[in-house]
Structure formats: structure tokens, C-alpha cells
Symmetry: C2
Subunit: 323 residues, 2 copies
């Protein structure tokens, strides 16, 4: 029973996480845009985790995981394998709290991400760009150092930490008709769903996913956890599949997962950049695109959007060919 | 004497402008960035007029000009010739207050700017892309309609309106060591200088200008008002030269005008986009570049930067070739 209780976070776990991490994370603003309201027909509230430290909500979960380490675990450090925002988030969360961070990255990761993780003070181990090589390298680090593995989403403390964004959001705006978040591995959507179910029980909860990585939508619709698809979407934060833990939360709490095309993602990203003057990454444009594409669900409604992050490679933007 | 008093705004004119326009403009936030502080060695405060309506500080001056029309002038409308932010700002400021706006634009202006001005409800007159053709077209509009010309910077009410950004800034942060703003025609820098001299008399006041459009710097250094240079800089908001009115204010109040290269402008723009996750236009990156390039002036100092705007053509970004 105690193990089960540590499997799926409940709302009090998000409250506890919020108390633990609030001194270290930004309370990000909730922004609105009359022009995007006009384009969508909805009343949109953007919870701007692109303005979070490390440029992504991932810093919340990573900080909560670090704060929940035992003294013994703190002394040995943390490890993860990732080339994305979770790697940078765990590196910064750990090192800034005096805990060693070991990050396993594929040697093919973009230089800018390698430099960012190194700049946060993590020890990087490079490996071949396969899941097997990553897991083997992480296992080797654990055997050598005794570090604690912090999975990017299949982790109780991570999910509870990610839920603090929605908790703040629902403190700032009351009673939305719907809340929508992007879904990759499902850590953000799970934490969001747990917070929203408690704080705004009548609100509909949506995930948003690229059509080219619609494993979560098909998992929800079929009731069977499906594996990830080949990485073809521009929304590089949403490539992974759900795990049993996040799938359980999502099945029980999420009303639907909406899918959008690459063209819709790019158009939504340009709309937010041009009208709101904020940088959001492609993964964050996915729920915006879903709101724009589903007027029958959102028109006239008060809709909260979790903007997951703002880390983009400015030298590889998808805009040029759309001139 | 009364005419002289209406030539150069004084601080009370900025206070009056602020009272007139506050119901209609955004009070933009002042943002900070630990990472850009670390890159510059300074403590930077960014007054974010990129988040202003129309995406630029120009909406302040334009709104003030419209609010100061007589009843007779209101009935006849306003006119200007511009292809930039002032055209959109005057269009929106006038039409949203029930005043007709006639905008003269060169037929070669970007489609996106034509659409924006039209969307704000202005009547557009197209002309050849020369100053002579613009002025002739504006004169024809005035003869036909009796509209009042609202110059983008050689205008008392415009300068007083632009000064309200610095006034708000100095209400939010006290006693900066320096304030820096971009300079093109000098309306923003003049209004800023008048506000800063009164509210933070010991602060140094700097303009920032592209080296490829350094007519204001050379005018200040030689004491003689010099004409604009051929339009070669990416900072397309800073192409015009000063007028006698703005040159007078700048000579009397501005400590120096600092110049930066195109490479420095692009690097500063990327730095702000990547670290602050906000969109600033090239003209707004000019003062950021000047702070980064002049450590001897700014290191260890509290420096306020006027971020003038965030209107960029996302299909023509200067980043690709810097991969």
C-alpha cells in the first residue's frame, strides 16, 4: 500500500512539491492575448513555463526530485539520460543544490545542448544514440557512483513537481472551462490532470500531441499503451511514449488527446511569436494549434494552456520556407 | 514664447501625456535576466515596449498625438507617411478613438505591414518609394481631407508620449546609473532624456545606433545635424536622421551615442531571444549590443534599457547563416 501510494501522486503531493520547490523556481506569469483570442474564438490564458528557469517546466519536477533525495542519495548524486530539457533541468536543479549530476547524452546531441548541460556543472557521459546505449551508460554511472536515477517522467516526484505549474495557474485564474497541455511521456499532462481534477473539478482536461507522434492519443483511444513512433515531428519534446504510471493517470483524468499537423504546429508557433512577442518551442505550440483547430470544443470558453518551454535552436527555425 | 513652449516638451508635458494615454496603453513590464547580467557584467532592467500595443513604443506617442487633437482636427482625421511602426501605431491609436487615419506608404512596403495598417482600419494611399513622393502624397491627402499631419518624431506630442515609457520605468526602478535607448529620428531618445533628467538627474543617458546609420552619433560629436545614411543596417527602425527638435534635446541631455556593428546587433538579438524568451526587433537589440560592447561604461552598474519594439518578419531572420 505504501508502495502504491508512492506510485501515483495525489493532490496533496503536488501541494507538498510546491512548498518544497517554490523558493527555487520562478512563479511564471499567466499571459493573455486579445489577438490570439480573436483568432481562436476562445479566452486563452497562457501559463508561461517558457519563462521558467532552464526555459522549461522540467525544472519544477527536477527540483522536486532533488529536494526529495535522502541525505545518502544527495551525497551520491543523480543521473539521467536525456538530450532535452530534462537533462539541463536536472543538471541545474542538482548542482545548484550542491548535488552532483551525471548526464548521459548521445554523442549526436546538438552542441548547444551539450554546452548548456556542461555550463550548469553536470558531468556528461557521451554514448551512442540508441536507447540501449543510453541505458547501459546510465547503469554504468550508477554502478560506479551510486547515483540515483531520475527518470524524466516515470517518477513520482517528477510528476508531482510538474503539477505545480497547473496549481499556480489555477490560483491565478479561477474556474477555466478547459485546461490543455502537450503530451510526450506524460509527466506534465499527468501532474496537470491531478491538479486540475482537484482545483477545477468541472474543467475539461486535454492533452495535445503531434499527429506524427500520436502514440498517446491512440493509447488513450484504444486503452492500450502503445510505443513511440519514429521521430519525425518538429515538436522534439514530444517524441517519447507514455509509461504505465502516466498512462494510468491520463486514462483516469484526461478527457481527450487532440492531434495536430506539423503545418498547424508551425503556424501556431509563428502566431504566438508574432502576436505575443514571446519565444515558445514547437512542443508548446502543439496545444495552441489544437485550440485553433477545434473551435467546436473551445470557442467562447475560458481555456488555460500550459506553455511548456521556450528552448529553440534559432539557427534552425522552420519559418523561412513559409515566406 | 508660447510657440517655443510647444517646441520642446518639458517633464510636466510627459506627466500630462501619461495621464492622457494611460487608459489606452499597456503598462509594460520591466524584466531582468541573470544570464544577460552575467554576460554583460551589468545589472540590466529591460522596459519591454515590445509588449506594448502594436508591438512598439510608437503607440504611446501616437495615442498622445490623437488625444491632443482639437475637436475640429478629430473630425478631419490624421495623416502620416511611414512604412514602419509609426504607421501602424497612428492607425490603431486614431481609429480606436474614432478618428480617421490616412497612411501614405510606399508601394514597395512589405505585404505584412500593409495588411497590419489596413487591419487597424486606416485608409492607405500608396506612392513611389521616395521621400518626395511620400510628402507629395501626404500633402494631397491634407488638401483633400484637411487631416492633421502627425510626424513620427518631429512633433511635440509624439516626443512627450514616447517619454512616458521612461517615466514608468523610473517609477518601477529607482536611481539607475544609466539609461540607454536606440536612436533613429530621436523621438524616443528625446522623450527618454527629458524624463530621466528630471526623475534620475544623476543617471547617464546614452543613445545607441548602428555603425551603418551613425548620423546621430556623428551629429552629436560634431555639433552639426547630419543627414541620414543610405539604408544598409538590419535595424530598420533606425534609418532616419534627427530633426532640429530632437537634436536640440539630445545635445542638451544625452551623454553619448554609442555605435555597434551589424554582427553585434544580431548577436545581442539572439542573446535576448535565447535567454529571455522574448522577441525583440533588431532596433531594440542595438542598445543591448552597446551595453555588451562597452564594459568600461556599464560593468557593475544598474542600467535601464528601453526595448523599443518586437515587430520582426519571421520569414526573414538573420540567424540561419550563423549556425
Amino acid at each position: 500500500m505504501d508502495i502504491y501510494m508512492k506510485y501515483i501522486p495525489q493532490f496533496p503531493d503536488i501541494v507538498t512539491a510546491s512548498e518544497a520547490i517554490t523558493p527555487f523556481v520562478h512563479r511564471t506569469p499567466v499571459l493573455t492575448s486579445r489577438q490570439i483570442d480573436s483568432a481562436s474564438g476562445a479566452h486563452l490564458f497562457f501559463k508561461c513555463e517558457n519563462l521558467q528557469k532552464v526555459g522549461a517546466f522540467k525544472f519544477r519536477g527536477a527540483t522536486n526530485a532533488v529536494m526529495n533525495l535522502t541525505a545518502e542519495q544527495r551525497a551520491a548524486g543523480v543521473v539521467t539520460h536525456s538530450s532535452g530539457n530534462h537533462a539541463a533541468a536536472l543538471a541545474h536543479a542538482a548542482v545548484s543544490r550542491g548535488v552532483k549530476a551525471y548526464i548521459v547524452m548521445p554523442s549526436t546531441a546538438p552542441e548547444v545542448k551539450k554546452r548548456a548541460v556542461a555550463a550548469y556543472g553536470a558531468e556528461i557521459t557521451f554514448c551512442e544514440p540508441t536507447l540501449e546505449a543510453r541505458e547501459a551508460a546510465a547503469t554504468a554511472v550508477i554502478e560506479r557512483t551510486g547515483a540515483t536515477m531520475v527518470h524524466p517522467f516515470d517518477n513520482f516526484d517528477i510528476i508531482a513537481g510538474q503539477g505545480t505549474a497547473a496549481m499556480e495557474l489555477l490560483t491565478d485564474i479561477q474556474a477555466p472551462d478547459a485546461v490543455i497541455a502537450p503530451v510526450g511521456g506524460g509527466g506534465l499532462l499527468s501532474g496537470t490532470a491531478i491538479a486540475v481534477r482537484h482545483m477545477a473539478p468541472s474543467a475539461r482536461i486535454y492533452g495535445a500531441e503531434p499527429l506524427l507522434a500520436d502514440d498517446a492519443a491512440r493509447s488513450l483511444h484504444t486503452g492500450t499503451l502503445l510505443p513511440a513512433l519514429p521521430p519525425r515531428t518538429i515538436a522534439d519534446g514530444l517524441l517519447t511514449s507514455l509509461c504505465d504510471r502516466t498512462f494510468t493517470v491520463i486514462k483516469d483524468n484526461v478527457d481527450d488527446i487532440l492531434t495536430v499537423t506539423e503545418e498547424q504546429i508551425i503556424a501556431a508557433m509563428m502566431l504566438v511569436w508574432e502576436r505575443m512577442k514571446i519565444i515558445i518551442e514547437p512542443s508548446s505550440a502543439v496545444p495552441v494549434a489544437a485550440v485553433l483547430a477545434n473551435r467546436e470544443l473551445f470557442s467562447g470558453r475560458k481555456v488555460a494552456v500550459i506553455v511548456s518551454g521556450g528552448n529553440v535552436d534559432l539557427t534552425k527555425l522552420p519559418f523561412g520556407q513559409h515566406a
